[in-house]
Symmetry: D3
Subunit: 281 residues, 6 copies
Amino acid sequence: MDFLSLDNRLREALREDIGRGDVTTESIVEGTTSEHTCEARIMAKEELVLAGWPVFVRVFELLGPIEVRSQAEDGKLIPAGSTLGCLRGPGHALLRGERVALNLLQRMSGVASLTREYALAIAGTRTRILDTRKTTPLWRDLEKYAVRVGGGVNHRRGLDDGILIKENHIAWAGGIRNAINACVRRSSHLQKVEIEVTNLDQLEEALQAGAEIVMLDNMNVEQVREAVRVSAGRCLLEVSGGVNLSTIRKYAETGVDFVSVGALTHSYRARDISMLFVTLG
Amino acid sequence: MDFLSLDNRLREALREDIGRGDVTTESIVEGTTSEHTCEARIMAKEELVLAGWPVFVRVFELLGPIEVRSQAEDGKLIPAGSTLGCLRGPGHALLRGERVALNLLQRMSGVASLTREYALAIAGTRTRILDTRKTTPLWRDLEKYAVRVGGGVNHRRGLDDGILIKENHIAWAGGIRNAINACVRRSSHLQKVEIEVTNLDQLEEALQAGAEIVMLDNMNVEQVREAVRVSAGRCLLEVSGGVNLSTIRKYAETGVDFVSVGALTHSYRARDISMLFVTLG
Amino acid sequence: MDFLSLDNRLREALREDIGRGDVTTESIVEGTTSEHTCEARIMAKEELVLAGWPVFVRVFELLGPIEVRSQAEDGKLIPAGSTLGCLRGPGHALLRGERVALNLLQRMSGVASLTREYALAIAGTRTRILDTRKTTPLWRDLEKYAVRVGGGVNHRRGLDDGILIKENHIAWAGGIRNAINACVRRSSHLQKVEIEVTNLDQLEEALQAGAEIVMLDNMNVEQVREAVRVSAGRCLLEVSGGVNLSTIRKYAETGVDFVSVGALTHSYRARDISMLFVTLG
Amino acid sequence: MDFLSLDNRLREALREDIGRGDVTTESIVEGTTSEHTCEARIMAKEELVLAGWPVFVRVFELLGPIEVRSQAEDGKLIPAGSTLGCLRGPGHALLRGERVALNLLQRMSGVASLTREYALAIAGTRTRILDTRKTTPLWRDLEKYAVRVGGGVNHRRGLDDGILIKENHIAWAGGIRNAINACVRRSSHLQKVEIEVTNLDQLEEALQAGAEIVMLDNMNVEQVREAVRVSAGRCLLEVSGGVNLSTIRKYAETGVDFVSVGALTHSYRARDISMLFVTLG
Amino acid sequence: MDFLSLDNRLREALREDIGRGDVTTESIVEGTTSEHTCEARIMAKEELVLAGWPVFVRVFELLGPIEVRSQAEDGKLIPAGSTLGCLRGPGHALLRGERVALNLLQRMSGVASLTREYALAIAGTRTRILDTRKTTPLWRDLEKYAVRVGGGVNHRRGLDDGILIKENHIAWAGGIRNAINACVRRSSHLQKVEIEVTNLDQLEEALQAGAEIVMLDNMNVEQVREAVRVSAGRCLLEVSGGVNLSTIRKYAETGVDFVSVGALTHSYRARDISMLFVTLG
Amino acid sequence: MDFLSLDNRLREALREDIGRGDVTTESIVEGTTSEHTCEARIMAKEELVLAGWPVFVRVFELLGPIEVRSQAEDGKLIPAGSTLGCLRGPGHALLRGERVALNLLQRMSGVASLTREYALAIAGTRTRILDTRKTTPLWRDLEKYAVRVGGGVNHRRGLDDGILIKENHIAWAGGIRNAINACVRRSSHLQKVEIEVTNLDQLEEALQAGAEIVMLDNMNVEQVREAVRVSAGRCLLEVSGGVNLSTIRKYAETGVDFVSVGALTHSYRARDISMLFVTLG
């Protein structure tokens, strides 16, 4: 977990929630922030794949001296009702950080849990689950981390760390061959060239032009099976578009290398996690 | 829409996605950023309540001179297949801003569309839908805006703009009466005092101590109905916890003032929106 | 004291004063920053209500390891000539932080001391002193804290945490009734509605429309007394405008709930505090 | 006026005041920010030396398209009741910027007006008024600008743009001679060396060691007169400490070059300026 | 040129140079910033490959309204004494931006010119010049751009956009095979795997383990020639270490794909460029 | 070393290099950042004057708990092959900080080593070496520090901490006398006035107008000698322009006070320094 870049966002998120102060707690509890030491237990209220525990703890560390008394590990499958961990620290800090920390942990565990569902759906095949760039703005690193935690593999992390020629690029370049040539000639020798195609003719053209990865866009299972047969290992193949939990296994059984699933990061459900104070200040 | 605070986050989101440059487009298209003027059409691929169009446009404005050629209005119910609007501007800018702009627009429209579903479910009652603080960190303002667009009402926007006495506060204060007294005495005279109760005895105690809003936490419909009867207009009543689309109407029919629904902002589904280039540079 | 949001401003203030370095000290004292440990005594050179001591200490903590050897408490009335506290730490850090730390402490104590004067002037009445938004930009939180320390009560902390309908809003809305109705209907159910009136007719209209707090703008004592009589507890009453130390008691004796005083934060006098080095490095 | 460094502070000040939105105006006035064009007149409610008009206007420019219809000029003496200028722009922007803009303009005009009083008090002498580093943190540049506008001269703007050897430095260096030697040897050849002395013996020692400016700390008029005689033009002389409006002329008549007055920036009174809406949207 | 990320650094660089103001110009020229329009001619005082002209212009645009009257193009070989371009704008802005703008343009042109020298030295071979990560912190994007302008090719732009297994990684992994396997298994499928080897045995082991690019570290020409023969096109080959302008051709003639040269960005010489005012305000 | 202003730039530089993560190390080494403790030795691969060691260490401190086991001192002349110091800490942190830390240390030592060469070239004369404002944007403080470490003296650190009247100012002012008068009258009494002249007539005019420092621009040795004779100690003299290592001694022997050398900071060569892991995690 890279706090170099994360801390500023966590602080900003705390400012968003705390604003000019926690008026309720300040009215109730007299004295300074550091005087009341509390202990809080964090519990999974439904089954989930835990992701984001170090981020959860970090939120509180930015607010005061926090001691982690016990903790689960990212990636574990947690049964409903289990304790994820316990934190001990100033009561004001625990109350001020609670919502932000839970908001992140619940979302990250939501991504990991959904990814696990997809991964289980294709268990036993050679296909791997890919995420997309359809992530929550400003939290892509955490969501892509949660995808890995849940058993998925990351696609591009931005426009800069992978070549992906899409429909618009092909049109601009004047065809698949031109587009691939331009990328081979001008892009970094460290990166492979991926291109999106919509039919088998385009696939063949892409392969001849030197594509190293081909994204099969919105093809049905039959087309994908044919694409696997035609490409015959000359490139990596990625299925993209229109895949869901009930259809993914059929795609995987065609032998494609990857299936990418936008829903992993754009339509997950936050998992239910609560934070209970077991000792008050 | 308040760009004073939004612009920095949008720029940061663009940096997250663009990183060190759009290597694909730069390899394909020669020349400088400003030379290729394109037009893009933004389309709803499923029915949705539009929310975030001004944010969507703003993303591109931060990248170059963009002209909005036609546009829908936030809050409208948009049928599947409709055009939301058209943008005209430098091709590089449209491609660089596309993913960030869509990621925001799809999420905001997801929140608004889900809120609309809840609002429709209780149509004809006097109850209003409230959101919670279970929002995506750093984007609370946009999500709460989308809730309003969808027909909901905003609860607290942070720990600072409303008093809400919860279980932990009551324990610290040594009871409901003490907690309410402390808040009445020490908090701003501009804010009302809300307290969370779990049964009717607590409700009565809260009313006698001067609570102006009472949150009924995880009560069933029967208990809520009794609470409405007992409180008899002496305070505003909010139902919280365990409410979903199929149960909300029963709660609303008890006559409570508000039902708060965390799912509006923590478990919405991004709506499917696409951006198609209709004219290339 | 919330260092989450304060630290950045303190660092920026230090940069403003230190610029490219403390050229005098660097020329005089050889060696690195950490080698010279000094002790400094902070003294009140006139009577004052102390406010800002934690901020004062924090400035130095941002510059090096500082030990607080003794200290007074915010809110205490300090006689002229008293020691407020002693700090021990690297000489370079003490010299670099001195001016910024004193500039803040002297101003905050100025606000608290002036507030105390107003509070004393109305001692024995039920009226409370309110501040305004006429604060020093970027330091509102510290000045409002100092008002509380001095015995005052905070009004709105921004445009967002309280409804206050003023003359321009009334004109736009087309009258008092319309304005109050709009706010009741559209603003948060957590906030009360305050409106500014200039005569008793407006007061009556405001009360009938449901105003919960009424600001009596620039009324004389006689008018205020009549307003108290007329409103008869139906709303909170705030006197605003043209009140000073010699007139405030007469206003308070009318029985109003609040008198707001802009001068608390816009025209205070910094209290004289000095920092003396008692041990050199 | 240097907006390169100022804009960020003004934006931050606006965020401090606006927070999550201007809830009153948003409730009252429907529609978007840009639809209501208003005109506001800014008036001096007491006599003042205007300072900060470009800053005042800039605050609004950061919020929307503002047109300045007429305006006074910084440095002018403005009679009570005069119009300082008129602004035209979106009503929402005018209301959102009003308090921040006035808070700055009133303070800056307070500094300039007080400086003018001091300057008038010594009119006809050769002495000039100096400010100090006792400025409001984060606004030193604006306050020092206001001092110049009021007829004063700026002392050091930070610890880095001037050598000033004070009591602690002398003690560390082991005497006046050592301290001056160290600074002459190690500091920039572009800066003069100033030293603080408390009696005539120290003055003589400083002169012999090569001091180019000497600050006479807390000396009475008689001592200062003698210092002027003794130094006989060998250095610039600055009187510091314990000077006020009623004593400054006597100091000036001794023939010293400068008198520095901390009160110019630490204990001024904000001048009364109001902003009235003359046309509503 | 991506101003989204560049503008903040340019503003910070201007603040570094301007500090609290251009005291010389402000003393000399009365009036406000915008009143004096000047024209400046920018001239190459020695032969150079121009790089950074858009950055140069951007610096001034951040300070005021600037008109570019004529301009050369990045990548052109410019003879000594030629005019690179002319700018017209407020005199104050031209003087305030001059040093920062020139500092960047001279350095970038230095990088491009040195790259050109290396590129010319191997003209006619199939080898390409690579840069390294030995760039000036905070300006890597501009220096890597200048390398491209000068005819070179960019290696990794950071630790994140390319796999490069070095000596320490090999030791940690327990050998070349383990290291390559780990990267193939865990790193992005979009990136190729490069590994550094120091002899031919390691080269063979790397090839068998699946390395796609091999860096030949500090090998002499003879060894490199043998490496080219042995690898026989099974991977890309990069020569690294100890290459200079007089030895590079011999390396290139072995047929390697790349030679990387740290000096391009860590030991270039700023080219001599001046800015002359031809019209004063 | 002032980390108050430096830390942000170091963090930004780390982000520039690390980007979204060190993908190679993460692929190779399993486990969290803190588990692998390594020791690294830093070695001078050529003779150099060390400058920047505290900055070098600071880079790593920002990434994790680092222990410095031995270290050289800034300013020392280090023979080729010597160990500069050893660091112990988490392996991931050492690998992530390595390039940024070395890039700074090599450059700063490059500046110091070159300055030392110039200083040695004029050893025994009374002349001192000055740097210029031709520094790397955003790193001026470090480069000017390195100049001091190498035995040079700093000229202005910005446009704000010294008056330097150049050709354009003279033209604007309408002559040397007017320009000097304006600066004497309007600039700070704490700063001396320097002016650039190109011949002896201008020198004489400048002296009569009260210049305290005169820069002799692009004069040959003979002219400089005459300038020293003519000025006869009435001002400080600085030679500027066209001086290099082989000509500087002749200039120094004329008796001028300063020779300024732009190359110290714009055309130095990074010194060769390596970091070797001696213990792996």
